[in-house]
Amino acid sequence: MRIKVMKFGGTSVSDQESRLLAARKVADAVEAGFSPVVVVSAIGRAGMPYATDTLLNLLAEVDPLVAPEPREVDLMLCCGEIMSTCVFAQTLKSLGYPASAMTGGQAGIITDDTHGNARIVEIQPADVIRALERGRIPVVCGFQGRSRPSDDSTYGEITTLGRGGSDTTASAIAAALGAEAVEIYTDVDGVKTADPDFVPDAPTLRQMTYDEIAEIAHQGAKVIHPRSAEIAMKFGIPLFVRSTFSDAPGTQVVPGEMLGHRRATGVTHTGKLVYLHFDAAFGPDKAAIESKVYELMADYRINLFMLNVHPQSFGFAVPRKQLARVKEILDGLVIPLTEGEPRTYIIQVGRAGSPEVSAQEQMLRGLSGFGEIRKCVARLTENCTMVSLIAHEFLQQPGIYYRMFECLVNASISILQTSDSPLSISVLVPENDCARAVALLHEEFDLATQT
């Protein structure tokens, strides 16, 4: 059996016309001698009746003061994919191709018990194989699985895989079935070298490496999820990103050794970030303050970007949507240090002190045992975004940073901070300059000619 896994995202299954185009891709695969396994996302994107966000809002609207439990959130979210699967299977049947809709659990996707961000621990694909052997096309719900039976649940719980979960489902099933390929169908004809909103003529990459596609997604591009690429890489499964709405060849994802030459691959941008710069006359206390701040950021699951450390200061960026949470956690935080002479730090987020900080300071000054009261101000730089150059064996060349800085500085774009890894160089720039920065770097690194 020549198995191919074909995954269709929300826009590919959003209406009957799109579903028919997607179903014809599946039919073409059957006619070409493949035994396709289909994975689908929920129908449509935010705002549409059965989209994931719409379902989530149904729960939130019941009572904004009562947070839904993760177990029920997962159950609710799964409805979107279940509906989509049934409708897609019916669409295939209408074209004369027998199909069987399956939940993630029915397809044998077993996960850990982390609701909302479960990881796949095992696949028992017997029912998928049985359907294939009977000449039926399995249509599997993306984004979901089932946890193992436990003391709390005799049959296991429905779980969801988190962001990009349907891509992960596709690669995982392909790995379990020894598929010849995974095809991720979307509404663009492959992976572009930049966001077409910022670079209208950004070409589609014909080939890229697993690491590149995972990094391009990590740095903000909405292509496929890094988890999906990691599974495909681990099991050596050819991965393609294609359009449901065209016959363009799309992007083929290949092992690094197949693209041996150094090259820049693309320019990405993340969402909105806020940079926090912690400054104080720390002296030898810096490690203790730093450690406490990191501990709290970890405990409250704040995503840190561009962590940056200097002898007497440190800083990091956080997503703007997490800033209110960060302020709640840190503003007015009291860190007493008792080794040697007692002294106490109060964290103040932002230049202007809040009532919390004033109240803490006043209270501590009236108490004994806290020693000197010192303020650590976290200066905020709001309205930032991160622009990243993604590259394959390219960044270690002398002068790469110079080229990036030259093109941005000469265009009067402020570089607020930088960060790099073996696969990318990122710069933090004002949000207003994001589009210009992406376009300039795209031109500087000649990405219009990349394929």
């Binding site: 077993i110 990881r119 621990v121 995982a172 890094p226 990191y294 002068g399 030259e406 960060s419 790099d420």
Partner: protein, 159 residues
């Protein structure tokens, strides 16, 4: 048919590797009003001297970066000959912490940073990619830092 396991790498830290033999170069004495142009000039000097740099970080008074220890002298020579105040601090190590899907494991970068600082090491630079975090520390403290991270391999509870 046997179930297929090990599809995904377990969340959290999956491995820790150490690479020694690096140097931290600190360029200082820049003023805020012309620091962008001065930094550009300094980067041009490094490019012309064929120096490949990593972990570039901007500070209030300049910037810093990491080079292989063997390349530190060339970088310092290039910068000083162009009038920049620059110093190299050898004995730096890079710890590579493999942790899959790091952006979706909210808080993991902060936890890694906390573990390193709590071990007694000073983080000098930190960078991340889709599957790992790289941390630069003094070689004299690298074993403590790497040990603290290795103790957490496979521990989901660190999040």
């Amino acid at each position: 048919m046997q179930p297929i396991t090990s599809i995904e790498t377990a969340r959290g830290i999956s491995s820790v590797e150490v690479s020694n033999g690096h140097a931290l170069v600190v360029v200082s004495g820049m003023h805020e009003d012309d620091s962008a142009q001065r930094m550009l000039d300094a980067l041009r000097e490094l490019k012309d001297a064929d120096c490949s740099i990593d972990f570039l970080k901007i500070s209030n008074s300049g910037f810093s970066f990491i080079v292989p220890e063997s390349g530190a002298d060339a970088a310092i020579r290039a910068l000083r000959s162009a009038g920049f105040a620059a110093d190299a601090l050898g004995g730096r190590s890079i710890i590579t912490v493999r942790a899959p899907n790091i952006r979706d494991e909210s808080g993991l970068v902060a936890r890694i940073a906390q573990l390193v600082v709590r071990s007694g090491a000073t983080i000098e630079q930190l960078g991340d990619m889709h599957s790992s975090v790289q941390v630069v520390v003094e070689t004299s403290r690298v074993e403590e830092a790497a040990g603290a991270l290795r103790d957490c391999i496979g521990l989901v509870e660190i999040l």
